[in-house]
Structures are given as C-alpha cells and as structure tokens.
Amino acid sequence: MYVFVLLLLSGCTSKQTKKTTPETDDSNIVVKTKYATGFAITHTNHYTRVDILNPWLPGENYATYYLYKKDDSGIPNNGIKLKIPLQSLVVNTFAYFEFLHRLGELDKITGTSDGFRVYNPAILEGLKNNTIADLGDPFQMNLEKTLALKPEAILTSAYAQRDTYSERVSEAGFPVIYNLEWMENSPLARAEWIKLIAAFFDKESLADSLFTEIESRYRAAEDLVKNIPQKHTVMAGDNFQGTWYVPGGNSFNALLFRDAQLDYFYSGNKEGGSLGLDIETVLTQFGKAEYWFGCTAKSYEELAAKDPKYLLLKSVKDKHVFNNDNRTTASGGNDYFESAVANPDLLLKDLIKAAYPKRLPEYEYTYIKPLQ
C-alpha cells in the first residue's frame, strides 16, 4: 500500500526549488552564526538577505527574504522583499514572544493564535484590550481575521508539508516568515534564532549582544557542574495513551541533560526528535533512574491514580519527579513553551538545582516544579 502511494507520487512531475546562494561580492558581509544551522544572514550595501535553510532538503532554501530600509530597487527577484523595521507582525509561535520582548518589539504584535494558552502578561493584556487579535487554532489560523489585520508579516512554524494558510496569506500579498528554530537540537542554537527575528526589526547588533549574554550565562551554569564526581541518572518524558515518548539522544532535552552532567540512557542515540517506548521498556531502562523530568502529573497521588506501575520507578519512590508547570495560567498558558527557548541557561539551572542542589543554593526553579 505504502509502495503504491510512493509510486503514484513519484509519477508526478516535480519542479525543484533552485538552490540560490548570494553572489559573492566584496560588499557582501556574511553573518556567521555560532550554533544555529538553520538560517543565514548576508549584508550588502542596499539590503540584508536572510535565508531560512531547508532542514529536510540539505543545501536548499526553505525561504529567502530581502530586507531593505528605503527603496527596493536592484533587489533580486528570487525572494520575498520586506521593508524593515517591521511595524506589525502576526505571531503564530509562542516561543518568539520572549525574543521580541528582549528586542523591545513586543508591541508590534497585532495577532496571535490560541489566546487562552498564552502566558506572557503583555500579550494577555493586549488580547484583553483587543489590541492583539486572537486568530484561533495555530494549525488552522483564521484567514479572514488575519487578512483584516493587514500585518506586514506573519511569523509561523514551518512543517515538512506546506499548509494552505501560509500559501493563501502569501498569495494575498502578506509575507510569511517561517520559523524552524524547533528543528535545531542544541539549546544555544535555538536561542540564537533571536538574531534571525532581530534582522526583521533592524536590531541585529542588539540581538548579538543579547545572545552573547545568553551564551555566557549558559556556559557559566555548565561550569557549576563540570567537576561533579558522580553523575546522577535521569529519565524523561511521559506516557501518552500507552506510548512513552522520551527524548532522542541528540534532542534538545538530551543535550540539556548532557550539559547538566546527568546520565541519560539514550545519550548515545542519534535521534533528534522523540522515541516512542512501551511501559515495559521504560521500566527496564529507566526503573533505576534517580531523577525524572518532564512528568505531566501535578502530584504523586495523581501519578499513582493514573497507573500504579509508576510507583515501581526509583525516581517516584525517592520523590525526585518534576513537571514543567512552575509558571502557568489557569486557562492553560505555560511559560515553559514561551520564554524557555530564550532562556536555555535557566533550563539548565533548573536541572542543576534539582539534581545537584548544593551547586546552586540560592537559585529558585524557573520552569520546573517538584511534584506535590
């Protein structure tokens, strides 16, 4: 069946997007990213070229933007032209609230998705005062409302499949800025995407210094545990309808564990996403793990009620279980899904505080919370 569909699909003619690299010219200054691999910024005398690279097709671009300040004459036609700094923006990805906040551009947001899940107080205020429109389901944003806002650009997550929403707003003349920071695995690489969004507001040098600070804070946190004599063992993820999703060995969370000097069973694994395990595998591989991060329950009682098998885990017996619910709103907002991308140092410190509390005596948890 699978082969049949593949055959059918491959029968269609495909037109490939051509690989386009900026012409090398003396006036071109390529901005080197330190960790991020998903975007490239090039400055010329007249404009700034931003390339979002295609993670599913190495060597190809997902999108190209030409950012100009005054006039767009002489700009190549193989990308989206945008006048910067942007004055209004629809944001369909909560992870960018904090980037925009740091850059002082939060007030440019005129629309966002799923308002009830927002944590950021300024965005909530905007939604309440109707200065920010709620465009509904992030996977199916309201097209009419978006167009009525007439935003200068729409920031949305890119997936391996082009969605009709992005196609339609683009056709209507509203540029879509695709964010693919979630495809980056290293915590610092994700945070470096602040440089990408800053380019659209002509604030690259501010972003540079903000990122340098993030980086040095992250390295300082790393240094706190560099000489740990005995690493603690850790498990992660949770059971979702019978399948236990744990981070792959090359994923964001696994890399955080590595930097926090936590011993993770799948650290040698190459997978960047998550791995689906059954409960028996979890019990054998993680039964003796000392700490458990990313649990979805609020309390040990809830855990026991959900499935008594949880009680077999050492982390549960020792009461070393943490969820990500330290900063939440009543209607379901959680800062872990918003500002954590911009604060990898705090994510790291949370883990250090939990597993090696003596290394961070004064620190209080930011995103994680011990189960009651």
């Binding site: 309201n142 009419e144 689906g276």
Partner: protein, 336 residues
C-alpha cells in the same frame, strides 16, 4: 407535478439565499454592501476584495460542490445496497483518502520531501486521491468476482476498517506535530479549496453527477430488488460496477479536497425522500443535489460563528447542526 415544481423553485431560492448568506458572513467585519461590491468588481479595499473573491466565493462554491456530491453518492449507495444506513463512506473510499493523507503527513520529512515540497498544498490532494483510487481498485476487483451487493457492502466496510487501522498505526508512530497536522485534516475544511483547485474538483464531480442523471431508470428498477431489475432486462453486475465507480470518484474527489465531511451523505437522501414524499430518482436526484448544497452552505455559515475564538470544524457542524433538522422531519412524518 405542479406542486413539485414550486417546491423546486422554492428550494432554488433558498439555495441562492444560503449562497449569498455564506458570502456575506465571516470573521472579518465586512458590510454586505462592500461584499457585494467586491463580488461584482471592487470594493475599493484590496483586502476586502481578497477575502470576498478569493476566499469566501470559492468556499461557498466548494460547499455547493461537496454538499451535492456527497449527498448524491449517499443516495447511490442507499439505492444500490437498499440499506438506509449506507453513505458515501461505506465503500471505504474516504478512509482510503485518509490513509493517503496520513502516509503523506507522517512521511513528509523523509525522502519524498522534495516531491511534496514542489507540489505545495496540492500534495495532500494527490495523496488523498491515490488512497481513494487504491480502495476503489480493491472494491472493483471484488465486484468483478462477487455477484452479491450485500457481500460487496461488507467487504467495502472491511477495506475501510483496514485503512482506518493503518491510519491508527501511522498515528501511533507520528510525532505530535505531524499528528496535529493530520487531525486538522480530519476536521474537514471548505476553505482549503482555492481557485486553482476548483476546476479539477468541479470536473470530477460534474462527471459523476451527470452520469447519475443517466442512471435514473436503472436506479428506480434497483429499488424493486436486484432480481426484479435483472428480469426487467438490466445487467445488474455491470450497473453495480458503474454505480460504485461513480460514487468512489465523487466521494474520493470531495474528501481529497475538503477532508472528510460526515453526515451529509447519509442523511440528505432521506431528507429528500421525506420532503417530496417519493422515492422516484427523477425527483430525488435533483432534490438531493439542492438539499445537500443548502445544508453544507448553512453549516459553513454556522461554523464561522467563533467559539472561544476558534471556528468549528465543518465535519462536526454537519452532524450537530444537521441532526436536529432531520429529527424534526422524522418526528413530523413518524418515519423516514
């Protein structure tokens, strides 16, 4: 006869009103006057023109196309299988289309990505059509060997279950984002059909519906039972294959472009029979077409009413909003 003509005229008036109503309502604050101007020229505001002409108009046309197509394929299935519960999905074609989309969604980040990327949102349509054709081939293969409608019905449902099972397996392997992309597809969406997709959708549906009009007599004799039909000189086996093909093509086409839309196909034929008090396909086919279009247009208007800033999935609105209408008819007539 005269009263039937006047009912048809009345229904066409309601259809036109629902069509205009669908174009005049939506989430962007656009006055009726502006919408009218945008529809027949320009409102002076490019965004209003864009919303009315490039979003609301194709959406309303899709509602008519999908509503009429699904209702007629439901009618064909009910007549062929002489089963009041039959609908467009009994052949498993919708599930096949779903399987195509599920495969596409779960594999989209893999080796087939360059192809998907080059097709844009059309990739989903192609995958759904491929899945629907696969199930159609299986059904036709079975129909050529088995000369019993009920057996074919059961096998069709089994194909549907197998396709659904395969979808479930794919979902269990999927990452949460792909899962959400796929689940969103199952909500159904009339707004996903853009102008460049309308010609293909219209073409496929038109062929099916036109063929149905030529089958009026065949369908009427099938109502009296296959034995009667064959003694009256009808090649039942051949006709069965023709009816199955038509149903699969139009159901597959609609599902491919809009995602699954339940309820309409099963219920509208009953509604049409109740409304006109006849089972004669000469009346019921056009009645089904018009009533199906009206129901889907009205459901689209209802689905635009924001609930907690979200619009409701059309696939759910059809049942939730359509069911009370049908129950009212049943209670009035005390039977279907």
């Amino acid at each position: 006869m005269k009263s039937k003509t006047s009912i048809f005229i009345l229904l066409l008036v309601i259809l036109f009103a629902a069509f205009i109503g669908d174009i005049f309502t939506g989430n962007a604050p656009i006055s009726a006057a502006k919408a009218w101007a945008a529809l027949f020229g320009t409102s002076g505001d490019a965004i209003v023109d864009e919303i009315v002409f490039n979003y609301r108009l194709p959406k309303a046309l899709t509602a008519i196309l999908a509503g009429s197509a699904l209702s007629v394929s439901g009618l064909l299935m009910q007549t062929l299988f002489r089963n009041p519960l039959a609908g467009p999905d009994v052949l498993g074609v919708s599930a096949g289309a779903g399987l195509g989309v599920a495969l596409l969604t779960m594999l989209s980040g893999s080796a087939i990505y360059p192809l998907i990327s080059s097709m844009g949102s059309m990739a989903q349509v192609v995958a759904a059509i491929a899945g629907a054709i696969l199930v159609l081939m299986l059904i036709l293969g079975v129909s050529a060997r088995i000369n019993d409608s009920v057996t074919i019905l059961v096998l069709g449902m089994i194909f549907g279950y197998v396709a659904s099972a395969a979808i479930t397996i794919l979902q269990s392997f999927a990452d949460p984002d792909s899962l959400k992309v796929f689940v969103t597809w199952t909500f159904g969406s009339l707004g996903a059909v853009t102008w460049n997709k309308i010609p293909l959708l219209t073409g496929l549906i038109f062929i099916g519906i036109a063929a149905t009009f030529f089958l009026q007599k065949t369908l009427n004799s099938l109502l009296l039972g296959e034995r009667y039909a064959s003694s009256a000189g009808l090649n039942v086996r051949q006709m069965r294959i023709v009816i199955i093909t038509i149903t699969a093509v139009i159901t597959g086409a609609v599902t491919a472009f809009t995602g699954p839309i339940a309820f309409v196909g099963v219920v509208i034929p009953h509604f049409a029979r109740a409304f006109f008090g006849t089972v004669n396909h000469k009346t019921i086919i056009p009645a089904t077409l018009i009533l199906g279009s009206i129901l889907l247009l009205v459901c689209d208007i209802v689905s635009q009413i924001p609930v907690a800033n979200r619009t409701l999935p059309i696939n759910a609105v059809t049942a939730i909003f359509g069911a009370p209408m049908i129950i009212w008819v049943v209670l009035k007539r005390k039977k279907l």
